[in-house]
Symmetry: C2
Subunit: 133 residues, 2 copies
């Protein structure tokens, strides 16, 4: 019998916790540095944990930053398409979903016979607080 969902391992839990308490996306090497005291020694320990967390939907990769964030809505699994708004100043990431955007991109793909595996939407700019300052 296969389990659909397993507990996190120690390393996975540590990486997830590091991301959860960060206020901005962290690079794999920054995570590594923050987990030295917990016994982390090599990048692969971080990347392996991230692979699992990404597959589980508990973490997202921000492509334009080569960095990672904890999922803001870890409970609502499988919301089709996620967009990220990333502040250049404070680094804060806002995660949202838009059905119309998903529908439009899906329509384009259907029209062109393109089969979608994964969609990345990242908006770089300035959040309200930082734009005001």
């Amino acid at each position: 019998m296969t389990t659909t969902r397993s507990e996190l391992t120690r390393n996975q839990a540590l990486v997830l916790a590091a991301l959860a308490k960060a206020e901005a996306p962290l690079s794999a090497y920054t995570i590594l540095d923050r987990l030295r005291d917990d016994g982390f020694r090599a990048p692969l320990q971080v990347y392996r944990a991230l692979d699992k967390l990404l597959a589980a939907g508990l973490v997202h990769r921000i492509e334009t930053l080569n960095a990672f964030v904890a999922c803001a809505h870890p409970h609502c699994h499988a919301h089709g398409l996620i967009a990220f708004a990333i502040c250049e100043d404070c680094g804060q990431v806002d995660e949202f979903s838009d059905a119309v955007v998903r529908e439009r991109l899906g329509a384009w793909s259907a029209d062109h016979g393109f089969r979608i595996d994964k969609t990345t939407i990242e908006i770089r700019g300035h959040c309200a607080a930082c734009a005001a300052a």
Copy 2:
């Protein structure tokens, strides 16, 4: 008097030509390798040319690939938002624009007081030809 638009330098022209004749995005180091015979020796020569070409809108960076493509529509300058559909098999990139998507992301941003600097949309999947095979 300042010129709004200047001719490309030799290095810029070589990099653009390398991208234009490629059938898929090229990494900076792949471009470097392909331009060895033209006298290129170091990564910086490629990155400097790419910076200018990106600024001029003649080249796009594909964030999910850490690679670059020549713009498919170099004449229509400043089409607000571009999306890319990238085939995992053949590497081909299809570049398109959708006013509704742009409007929706703009609306979200306006609602949240977020000022957009740059938007990245990349769809990874399989093109019609490769999906059929």
